[in-house]
């Protein structure tokens, strides 16, 4: 079952938020860099223009009662050394152009002795930046106000601005990419404990109900606590039902034993064959019931021990031998012979003796139970590519039954309604096989009628 996430993923939300912040900061960075650098570039152009105009102003002098100018070479050449922009200038004394471009517009506002005027406008088909300074030149009679303007096109500035924009864009994009990668990483890291916790829970076996001990950050502490308290409640509730089953099985088995003993005594006393027959059937039913109760107990035991498997070094032939000897009386009652095949060498195995024996008992018990009188059950232990304990009988087989379903609890075949059973035997065997890293194989007898049920383990 998967949980539908209606709230979306925290990680994605975190990432998108961080990325959005990064984008915002990138744009801010872009604007700041371009703004600052752009105005710095403009200030540089203004500075050079002002220096040029000032050097022209400094070269003004009076000669024969009128103003004249010896245009310094550097005044214009300094502009050319920075970029290749077009240069215009004019020197105007009392409204009359002394020299330069007479069509340069008059600056607005007019500059004063203490402040220059900077202006941007279109001139001769191109945008120009113009600085104007004013000087008063004394000619002996009356000081003459001279207006000096120097203008320059802005292609160099545009190129610089373009470069800055490219740089700022690169910086912005770079910053955004780095910040986004970091956000991704941050989101990932921030949520790593959650994932760690989730996978710690997921990795657990189905019956592992120990409290969670993963180190969790403060924010996840409540979640861990809630989860642990839930696990504790679940474990208590499971324990209760398990206890109930065990208790119930116990309670049923003990009186059944009493009833069986009494029925045995009664059976011996009875004379009439039909009465004795009825009593025998009763005893058989009692046996079956007590076996079912035993299997319930076994199942509970297997579940518990599988979860806390404490493997020891064992020898499989020995377990098998002992199991067979335990079931021999039952087989003899039905005149069923058990043939065994062991390998010459011992088969060492790490596992739980009780569990393995319980699995073998259940399989062998089925074989005897579903065998006709006077037949034989073949048990074989092989140690090759895999370790295999197979039990083959000559009984009725599985008929039409779906073989896989037989491993589920309380599931019985469709062709065994005449024989009492609980449907737990193969479940137990399967649980044990899987607890030991193996599996239970259910097939038909390859050499004729009957079933073949095998425990298969990988060799150790």
């Amino acid at each position: 079952m998967t949980v539908r996430s209606q709230q979306g993923s925290i990680r994605r939300r975190l990432f998108i938020q961080l990325a959005a912040i990064a984008a915002l900061l990138s744009i801010l960075l872009f604007l700041v860099v371009r703004g600052l650098a752009g105005s710095a570039a403009e200030a540089t152009q203004d500075g050079i223009l002002a220096a040029s105009a000032t050097s022209i102003a400094d070269a003004l002098r009076a000669e024969g009662g009128s103003v004249t100018l010896d245009l310094p070479y550097s005044a214009l050449s300094m502009l050319g050394s920075v970029n290749q922009d077009r240069v215009f200038y004019s020197v105007v004394a009392e409204g009359e152009t002394l020299t330069g471009y007479s069509d340069l517009p008059e600056p607005r506002p007019l500059p004063t002795l203490s402040s220059n005027t900077f202006q941007t406008f279109d001139y001769r088909g191109e945008e120009v930046r113009m600085v104007s300074v004013t000087r008063s030149v004394s000619t002996g009679v009356e000081p003459v106000n001279v207006l000096i303007s120097v203008a320059q096109t802005r292609e160099g500035l545009a190129a610089v601005t373009q470069r800055i924009t490219t740089f700022a864009t690169a910086a912005g994009v770079g910053f955004f990419l780095v910040a986004t990668a970091l956000s991704l990483w941050a989101a990932q890291t921030a949520l790593a404990p959650v994932n760690a916790m989730a996978s710690a829970v997921t990795r657990r076996g189905p019956a592992d109900l120990r409290p969670l001990t993963t180190e969790a950050p403060t924010e996840l502490q409540p979640v861990v606590e809630a989860l642990n308290s839930f696990i504790a409640r679940l474990r208590a509730s499971l324990q209760r039902s398990e206890d109930l089953i065990v208790e119930a099985a116990h309670r049923v088995r003990t009186p059944l034993a009493t009833v069986r003993a009494k029925a045995e005594v009664t059976h011996r006393k009875l004379q009439k064959p039909e009465h004795r027959q009825t009593m025998r059937e009763m005893i058989r039913a009692i046996d079956e019931s007590s076996r079912s109760a035993g299997q319930l107990l076994d199942h509970a035991m297997v579940t518990f021990r599988s979860d806390h498997l404490e493997p020891e070094n064992l020898e499989l032939s020995e377990i098998l031998r002992e199991t067979i000897s335990r079931l021999e009386p039952t087989a003899e009652l039905k005149d069923v012979g058990i043939e065994c095949n062991y390998p010459a060498a011992p088969v060492p195995f790490r596992g739980d003796w009780l569990l393995l024996q319980s699995a073998m008992v259940n399989i062998l018990d089925n074989a005897i139970k579903y065998s006709p009188e006077d037949s034989s059950v073949h048990v074989e232990l092989t140690n090759g590519e895999s370790i295999r304990i197979s039990v083959t009988d000559q009984g009725r087989g599985f008929g039409e039954t779906d073989l896989n379903s037989l491993k589920s609890r309380f599931t019985r075949g469709s062709n065994v309604s005449d024989i009492v059973g609980s449907g737990l035997g193969l479940t137990i065997a399967d649980d044990v096989a899987r607890a030991h890293g193996g599996y239970l194989e259910i097939t038909s007898n390859q050499k004729g009628q009957g079933a073949c049920v095998s425990l298969v383990f990988s060799p150790q």
Partner: protein, 346 residues
């Protein structure tokens, strides 16, 4: 075969020394008819036909579909023609770097960028509008007969000392440009003045020797050869080299303190009709260094950054707004006044 074709392509000299109705004076106009196709380019140039014809013919050999209409005028008339706006030309070729710069600065030139122009050194172009294709130093030429034992001065200081120490030897036998009439002379003189204080002292010394003033390099060389002049200052080196190869009799001195190098430049007029052809010709001109045959035939030395690197005294005149300074009306007035005061002392 091809040569014959080219000869056949040369059209007639239409006009010579005639004033056009357009308001500026031309010296000569030649049309080189295309052998195929009907493309055209109109060139206004200060370069003599004799100098430039090999280049034009080579250009036409590469571009046989372009008819070249080549008009020759003086630097001032070229300026007038373009600034007046009533003349229609595609390409303006001039040795007056200052005037070319002013044309570009005032918006009379078009921008052109191509593989060929982008390969040029930075100092050889301005705004991608003015393209230099020759480098021609201003030199001192001395008559061999006046310096029989050698001992030719190789710096301005040495020249000043020589003229000052032996005035009777050089009285009336020193020549230079009359900067009032010659654009090239004015450019060289102003650059000299900019570069070194020694220029004014040199003028002073020359002024005392009753110098002869000339309109053009040719006349100066002529008088050197005839022995009228012992030395001439600021002669166009490429021209002198050509004459020397032809006739001999004098010596060319590239000053070792510094020698201004004039760059002959071309620009595409802003009102050009045949812009594509003009661009092709610019690319052709700026690759002149790859055509030693044309350098030989025209006597125009192509751009050669290696030569400049070898001889640090060679200073190419820097293109750019600095050249506008000496075109300033007041600046020119005051410069000419100083020049006159120095050179005409008697």
């Amino acid at each position: 075969m091809r040569f014959a074709c080219i000869l056949a392509a040369i059209g007639t000299v239409l006009l010579s020394g005639v004033s056009l109705a357009q308001g500026f004076e031309i010296e000569e106009r030649v049309v080189y008819d295309a052998t195929q196709g009907d493309a055209e380019i109109q060139v206004l140039s200060t370069a003599d036909r004799a100098v430039f014809e090999p280049i034009l013919l080579a250009f036409q050999a590469e571009n046989p579909s372009i008819t070249i209409d080549y008009t020759i005028a003086s630097t001032r008339e070229v300026m007038k023609a373009v600034e007046g706006g009533d003349a229609q030309f595609d390409l303006i070729i001039s040795s007056a770097m200052d005037l070319q710069t002013k044309l570009a600065n005032d918006g009379f030139a078009q921008t052109h960028r191509s593989d060929a122009t982008l390969q040029m050194p930075d100092w050889a172009r301005w705004r991608d509008q003015i393209f230099a294709f020759t480098q021609e130093p201003a030199v001192l030429i001395v008559s061999k007969s006046a310096f029989p034992n050698g001992n030719v001065p190789t710096s301005r200081e040495a020249l000043i000392a020589l003229l000052r120490d032996e005035p009777e030897r050089f009285l009336g036998r020193v020549g230079t440009y009359d900067v009032r009439t010659s654009g090239f002379g004015y450019l060289m003189a102003t650059q000299d003045a900019r570069m070194s204080e020694s220029f004014w002292r040199l003028l002073e010394v020359m002024g005392r020797l009753e110098p002869r003033l000339y309109c053009c390099s040719g006349a100066m060389i002529q008088d050197i050869r005839s022995g009228k002049l012992a030395l001439a200052y600021n002669v166009l080196g490429s021209y002198a080299a050509g004459e020397l190869a032809r006739t001999g009799g004098f010596e060319i001195v590239v000053m070792e303190d510094f020698a201004n190098v004039m760059l002959r430049t071309a620009l595409i007029a802003s009102n050009a009709k045949n812009v594509d052809e003009a661009k092709i010709m610019i690319d052709f001109l700026v690759s002149l260094d790859s055509r030693p045959d044309l350098i030989e035939a025209s006597g125009l030395p192509a751009l050669d950054a290696d030569q400049l690197a070898e001889n640090a005294a060679l200073r190419p005149i820097r293109l750019g707004p600095g050249l506008l300074v000496f075109l300033d009306r007041l600046k020119r007035q005051s410069f000419l006044r100083s020049w006159e005061a120095s050179i005409t002392q008697n």
